[in-house]
Structure formats: C-alpha cells, structure tokens
Symmetry: C2
Subunit: 284 residues, 2 copies
C-alpha cells in the first residue's frame, strides 16, 4: 500500500478504532522509577518505549510532539528519532506533530528531516501558502494541515470571516481539499488530512462538507472538553473507516498511571483500551 | 540592556546598517575544501563558523535556518546550537528562523529549546492565535511574527480580504502590534517584530502604518527581486535606527564565493560589506 491514507485506514481497521495517542513527554510527569533512571532524554526514551509497548495494538497511530523532544537539544532529537523508529517497528502509524510551515525549498529540508525519522506523516501550517505544504507530499509523507485548532484562542484568527463569506478556517479547508485531490487512495481518502479540534465541532459539519476526502486529526477530545456529540459532528458517515477521523488523546492516556497504584505500563494500556472503546462506540 | 529590540537596534547602530545574513547551509553548495573535510554536519559547522567570522562586524544579526540543520538529525541540531553560540560570541544577534507555531504549553517547550541554543529571537507563526506566540516573550526571546512572507504563493492566504476590509496579513499585523505594546524598549521598538517580505512592498506602507513599533524582518531583497524602492516603502522614517527594518540576505552572501577565485571567506566578507553598504545607502 503506497498511500499514507490507505495505510492509516488499514491501521484503524486493524485495531477497530480511529484513535491516536499523543506522546508529549515532560520530565516531571514521568513515572518516578524512570525519572531517576538516567539523564532527561534517556528517561524520556524509556518512557516513550514503555508507552508504545503499552498502546500498540490498541490504537492506530502515535503522535510524538516534536517540541517536547527538541527542548532537550540534540540528544532529545536523537530520542525522538528512536521513538519514531520504535513505534513503526511496533506497527503504529507515526505522525510527527511538528507544525512546520516554511517556503518550498525550506519545506524540502523539513520533509527530509521527518523522513529520516521514519515518520509516516507530519502536521503542517499553510499560512505561507498552498505550495509550501506540497513538498512533504512529494517526499512521500502524509500531511495534516492546521485548519481549526482546539485551543480557545484560535478563534481570533481562524474564525475571521472573509468578504466571500467563508471563515479563514474554511478557506484553509478548501485549500486542503484542492491540494489533496491528486492523492486520494483506494479507501477514498487523501494523503492530505486536516487538523480539526473536537472543541470546535460547531464548525465541524461545514468543514466536513468542504473536506469529504480528508482524514480529520482530532485533538481536544476528553481532557480538553470535546464530547461524543462533537465527534459525531465531524463524522463523514462511513463507519467502516472510523468516520474519516483520527481522534487523539495525550495526557489522559500517557499519564494515566498518576494517582494510581500498580505498574505504570498497565495503567497506560488500560487507558488506551478505554479510549479506543469509547471512540469506537461513537463512530461505529 | 534587557529588551531584545534595544539590543538589536544597538547592534544595527554599531555596524551602521540594518542587515542580517541568513544561514541556510546546504551540503552540495559548500566550498569544496569543506565538503571533503568530514561528514555532513561537521562540514556545515566549519562553513557556518567561517561565514560568521566573515560577516561579524559588517552585519547586525545572523539568521540560521533551522530546517537546514534539522535535516541532518540530532548531529545537525548539535551543530545548530554550536553555530548560534559561536555567532553570539562574535557579537552577532542570533535570530533562529524556525517559524514555530503551536498551542501555549507546546510553545513553552519550543521557547526553552531556542533559549538553550542561545538564540536572541525566533520567527513564529500565529495561525493558532495570539496567545500561542506570547510564551516566547515570557521566556525572554524576541519574536518575529509571520505577517506577509516573500514567497509568491503567500498571496493565496495573506492577501485574502476580510469582511471588515482588512487583509489577513493586516489582521495579523494588528495582532502583532497589540501583542507588542507591553514590550516597547528605550528605542521605541517592541520585542515583537514582523516578517514582511521586500517582494510584497506594495502592501508595505499599509503594514508599516499598522505596526509603527515593529522591527520588520525583511527577506526577499536582492536575489528574490526586492529593490531599494521596496525597502523605502517599509521604512518608518527613522534613519538613525535603520528605518525599523532588518533586511536579510542569504544565498547572495553565504555562497558569494561560487564562480569566483580566491579564498571563500574573503568573498563572503566582501559580499556582506557590499550588502550592508547598499542597504545603508537606502535607509539613511
């Protein structure tokens, strides 16, 4: 299977839920036995491997947050690459959450960096224009374009209304749909996906109409306030492909051990199963 | 001097020109004697140190392009950090061109990464909202918000007209001005700057009116087609502070040795002097 979108849908079908775990490791939240296991990056690597072992087979994809690794410098970046490689070995689709956005030549460098990390896809920012996100596709990566992000503050930009009646987010959605047209795979989804927060579901139906072939990467479910109804608003009507969504949860899964007794990996596994079970019930 | 903007203006005054050299190292463009000096990142570090030595004292700042380093993995990131540190030692202001843009918590991690690299400022993307760029300020960095970028394709997003009559770029400009108000230094410039391409100078006067306290980071002069007239359109009328601009040149300076005989460092120095002399003539 060559298309990123096809591989992702296959992975969603294999686990039976369109779910993704966000890997945002922060030193002071690690299980105590790991925090004392070595320097920062070494502890983070041990944690990430443990989380990956804990969630593999229960979620379709993993989404490492580049910033959490970059803050530890070169060694952090080495750990990020190892984490991505290990996740891929364990059969998970790897989405690098890096939100890159730069002109074409520079985008080629970022794409090469993501490819070298064994990422399957990367989140990108298209404020610099549509042509600044296509180099990632040419490099063989899937992309998720930031359309309507889950943070409250995003309204200040993304909800602005253009003179043609579209919001800025809807304009970006039309761009994503257009860029994505040439890369639609056998499952009828494009390698160009869209980031649409569960907390912005009031805009979700309109965005879904504009992007029928986009897989929505959906942050904000659970901890940030997104509900089952919100997911239904983003659903594309196709239960067999997870509704064209990939719902992500981060802290509620990877830090599920906090305040609980027992082995931390088991707590992460239980949280991943609970998350996938909940989402499965909503989308199918 | 605590304000980033004050340090930058002081540096501009010290060299007598509001100029910045973009450091976008690409392996196959390095001087042949360096390309064969070791593995990729080692050759890039030698090149960057040579460019910094060549331009120090002739330009106010240096702007390493993060992507060019990131594509070489962890070792590339180590070289980026060394490059930033060396530039600072040599008295240059360091602008990390990373165009980061993510929600607040994640932005804190990116800010920590930039601080650890000894960057003075970072380029940022505010598509996710105004609050997503303020964490860098809190960390003590200056920021340059992407407003109107020099690539042709940027019109597709940034020139869209809102129902209130502003373009998307003008809306971003108003955001930059508002965020920047609390951090105006003794020279009357804010630690919140703006990226405005010389190739988009037709929009420049309106953007300057909206952003009187922003230092404009101006790519696109020279090689990309920006002219002296374009710089005049972005000028804020204050010759003693370089017109509130920081004009950047990359390839025309760092690869000035190509097709020329003689020592490559001397060619870079000559190109930096020529660049600063030209810009000085326009702004003063």
């Amino acid at each position: 299977v060559n298309h990123f979108a096809d591989r992702l849908i296959d992975s969603i079908r294999a686990v039976g839920a369109p779910t993704c775990v966000g890997l945002d490791p922060v030193l002071d939240k690690l299980p105590p036995e790991l925090a004392s296991a070595g320097d920062g990056p070494a502890a983070i690597l041990a944690f990430c491997r443990g989380v990956i072992d804990g969630v593999a087979g229960h979620v379709a994809a993993i989404k490492p947050q580049s910033a959490c690794f970059e803050r530890h410098g070169a060694e952090g970046v080495r750990v990020l690459a190892e984490t991505c490689g290990y996740a891929r070995e364990r059969g998970l689709i790897v989405l690098l959450d890096a939100k890159r956005g730069d002109i074409g030549l520079t985008a080629e460098h970022y794409a090469a960096a993501a490819k070298a990390m064994a990422a399957d896809a990367i989140t990108v920012n298209a404020y610099l224009g549509p042509e600044t996100v296509t180099p990632y596709l040419k490099a063989g990566l899937g992309i998720f374009i930031l359309i309507r992000t889950s943070n409250p503050d995003s309204d200040a930009v993304q909800s602005r209304v253009l003179e043609d009646g579209r919001t800025v987010a809807e304009m970006m959605a039309d761009t994503a749909a257009a860029i994505g047209r040439p890369s639609i795979g056998v499952h009828d989804y494009s390698d160009v996906g869209a980031v649409v927060g569960a907390t912005k579901a009031e805009d979700g139906r309109a965005l879904r109409r504009r992007m029928p072939h986009q897989i929505f990467l959906v942050p904000g479910y659970g901890a940030q306030g997104g509900t089952a109804d919100d997911l239904r608003a983003l659903h594309d009507g196709r239960a067999e492909t997870g509704g064209g969504m990939l719902v992500t949860a981060s802290r509620s899964v990877i830090y599920a051990f906090q305040g609980q007794g027992g082995a931390w990996r088991s707590a992460v596994t239980r949280a991943a199963i609970k998350f996938s079970t909940e989402v499965r019930a909503v989308v199918s």
